[in-house]
Symmetry: D2
Subunit: 331 residues, 4 copies
């Protein structure tokens, strides 16, 4: 019963079907019909025009989006525990040609206008200090917390006031949208670009960068090729995204994962380090308790010395979730 | 009857089977069993130790290999029509942090010790000029010509004499090895790293970087993550490579493509711009002749004003190759 | 009697005076009065608004100017023998983050609309090929040839038509302006930025980047600091530039150097590889002839096997120029 | 009476003399006799072999030194208030091609083995996290505190144990050496490279990068040119360094500045935020007190809301120091 991560979960049957269906020769790169239809498919989801590029990883999605917004001499405000800062092997430094990540704080790994201002205000407007050019937020956050639409709006406001672009790392955007139970448009808010994750949510190898400003997409297209991310059989990436959007499978999968997380969270509410607003749980428990859980067959990561991280996925079995809920309740 | 390119061809059934078989949860990234076994699988092919990394594109393979060999202030000698110079959107400039491609000439897009020396000799050994650090050759070349083992040895000799690393872009290495009818080891020669292509040859989205110097692989591992090329469900890439190596499918596929090319080449020997030593044909023909071929249902690219390029693939149907052979013979 | 190069010549007395006069404490970096007055001083020279940054080398001037014009995924058309391509140790690759130099041909190391088009026309407008963003020309060229105003206008026209920026490397702009005997504005033409050289012409350590588009200067200011080129005692660089502009010393110095070159060139007109349109001479002569000249005490560089390069400077003594003129006439 | 900064102070007479003496033509770049003698001159100072490169700024010195030590995918541990983090406009990101600064804490802007370990220990040894390659310390620190030889030794020990290079930003190395009253060798400790500052201490435009590992210098030489920092009349930079080393002017100047700072510090000991161990003072005082000091003619920077920063220089007049000492004593 694995709750280690959603990032290595199985591939959804609809994705398999779409992959097989795409196995006819077509124009290489992103010249195929499936890729060409992505803008429209996502425009339907977000009810506004967008330009969409597929890539193979969330790291590439985040970095290509930011590289289109931020010059090499600029900076990006992000949470000090953001994925781009902690877990991408320095990819932003590579893609943004040495631009600087400016680390802000915030509960649940979420930024607020106040914590953003705390980073921005001390920066002197001179050439000796790196100037900010964008803000990047994560929906849901590294701790599985979802920004409410009004929270995004408040951040967008400070972004606009300071002349900054706004990017959303949506590796688990589906889980946030499902949790918030609002439209995708509301869950994304007025961002300039969204890294929309599909791999953790039932895909095999395709994420989407959704640009709401087409000028950014025009730059990112060249950067994607330049980064070796323009796959020649791109139809197999587009097929995954199209399959997941069809009939809102992406939302159904996320709801399933969230429901499992919610069940477990309810069972150990007093131990939660963060509210469960997506498909991740950070649960205070002792090494002995963790050992006991592992003895019962549960797989998960330690989170420091005094906690465990559990992640549910689109294919978490209900009986496994229930079993874990019972197990944590009995600790 | 498509002869446009092999880069968008269908996926081999054995690859599909392997992909499906890999659809069980495993350790993410390259921690899965299939990825872990790659070094051994390729060591069997090359009969010597190697360290292997999967990536999603040939561009990424080439650039990660070269970035492990060449410092940002260095240079790479390559053919003026090499893929890294002409068709990778400036990716070497990105991955190598501004290192310089030093363009050499040579028949059939193949380098020789003489054309390499013609580039190297005029470079003054001072800081005002970029100093070479590596040579990159393409097997088979952009014009479908294959380096003979003794040709590679001669280039390796000049590389060693000048203190340069040697890289091989093997996007069509399989076709070269099949044409040369020698061991893979002989077809690769004493290179430091080989970008071993699988996608054009029946794969879906996986290429291999084969490092014969493990120190280079240690660097490339970090660079791969930093470039956003470490996919979380890496087992699906490893599975493709393993499937293609099994029973030497990679060689069988290449032999099939080569045979089709050879048949067509024999039929229009007098028109060939380059000897057919892999799966590409560059055939002199007038616009009217090309129009006639297209009227007969053949797809291909114009190659300048006076020639056409035909590419066969692992799945080119024999009757299509025969039909094209007849058609070009009748021009 | 040295004719090796102008780049290590002595410093003009007026520059020394200005340096000493600047030796009072002032605001650091470029906050001092001399630096602040540069825009106005150069605006008087060019009779139009400009934004001026001092830097310590021509390499930095060229690369900072180009970096403000060209994104990392773009390209710069320049002559295949341009300084940025041949002699700057790969600095454009560094400053432009891997952007590509696109090499064009032309007599006397001068570009023409035709040679530029020959580079631009074959570039497919797709992401697989680096797209051009700027053209860089050198006034006077590497071979001491000066662009006529109408030649620059023709190049500016193709730049505008193709949506490209235009940069001028003016390491010897003074010599070109003196030779052309026109206004500095005419000698520069409608470029977006000019690297205006002073060091070869009597300065110690200051060159000017003259931006005619202030938006480029705003970017370059950050890049200059980021490149470690914002000197804390910047008043000593500004002082050099101001001193050279005062009373048009820069033009007088260049006229002196040009006159010496002209005298020598007239004496060996039949041997000249290029017309003498600045302060450089490329003179066909045999190794024996060169040895004879050296025996007479003349210092110069060999230019390949069959020629010599002579460079005059602001401080070339008239008797030395006359002596060399006689010597080459007698060969 | 200026105590704003030492970075715009006048130039020492001996430097002027040396500059004038260097105004004869010599080999360009660093081929002149003065530049060629630098290794020996500094070897005498440090009593061990070293390879020395001049550059025009401390930012370039720091970044070229670090770029020779750290690959683009690596990291550098430094204090969170280090100059390379706070005041160099992102130059490390540029020169190190996106390598990461890893911010550590420490009293007085000095690192300790403990604070370094606190940064290093949580870094997982995997490709998802940037791995450290070097440590950079500042002597004297941003708060004018000097590392004792045993403190440097302890840091060198952790560097060696972890396989990290050690760099010292010595923008005010002279002041630290003067304060410590030990040999320069002891004040530098076993670092791999030292950015040895001269500009704040009486120079005009020359800093030295002192490499104790010649392999690093070999790389830095290419990088210096590539960064546009190889000045053609380099003899004027070498002359400054040689002049300052002659008769230990660098030490005498630093002693003078330190003495002034000590006098002022003694007069306001109770208000000091940090011990005075070089030529900087950070003095707690209210806005009203600062206004009062300014009314008396003292120039200085506010340091936040509740403090002032005073910097003495090699040419601070004794009466000015005494006046400030009295003024702060009377607050």
């Amino acid at each position: 019963m694995q709750f280690l991560s959603d990032n290595a979960a199985s591939v959804h049957p609809a994705v398999w079907d779409a992959l097989k269906a795409a196995d006819t020769p077509d124009t290489p790169y992103d010249g195929d019909a499936l890729s060409a239809a992505l803008d429209d498919s996502f425009a339907q989801v977000f009810q506004r025009p967008c330009a969409v590029l597929w890539v193979a990883t969330g790291t590439a999605a985040n970095c290509l989006a930011l590289a289109a917004m931020v010059p090499p001499h600029g900076g990006v405000v992000c949470h000090e525990e953001a994925h781009i800062e902690m877990d991408e092997g320095g990819a932003p430094g590579f893609y943004l040609h040495g631009a600087k990540l400016m680390l802000a704080q915030g509960e649940g790994a979420k930024l607020t206008p106040q914590t953003i201002a705390a980073v921005l205000d001390p920066i002197r407007d001179d050439v000796h200090q790196v100037q900010p050019h964008a803000i990047s937020i994560t929906q849901a956050s590294e701790y599985g917390c979802s920004y409410r639409p009004e929270e995004i709006a408040a951040i967008a406001e400070i972004a606009q006031a300071r002349g900054l672009r706004l990017h959303m790392d949506g590796a688990r955007f589906a889980n946030a949208a499902a949790f918030l139970d609002c439209t995708p448009t509301a869950a994304a808010g007025p961002v300039d670009a969204l890294s929309f994750g599909f791999i953790k949510n039932g895909g095999m190898s395709a994420e989407a960068i959704v640009f709401f400003d087409p000028a950014l997409a025009d730059v990112a297209r060249y950067r994607r090729k330049r980064a070796g991310h323009l796959q020649s059989k791109g139809r197999f990436l587009a097929a995954q995204l199209q399959a997941m959007l069809e009939d809102d499978i992406w939302l159904a999968n996320a709801r399933h994962a969230n429901a499992a997380a919610a069940e477990i969270g309810t069972a150990c509410a007093g131990r939660l380090m963060h509210p469960v607003e997506a498909n991740e749980l950070f649960v205070r428990c002792t090494p002995a308790e963790r050992a006991a859980l592992r003895d019962q067959g549960f797989g998960f990561y330690d989170w420091g010395d005094d906690a465990a991280r559990f992640v549910t996925a689109w294919n978490t079995r209900e009986q496994d979730a229930t079993a874990l809920a019972k197990a944590v309740a009995s600790l």
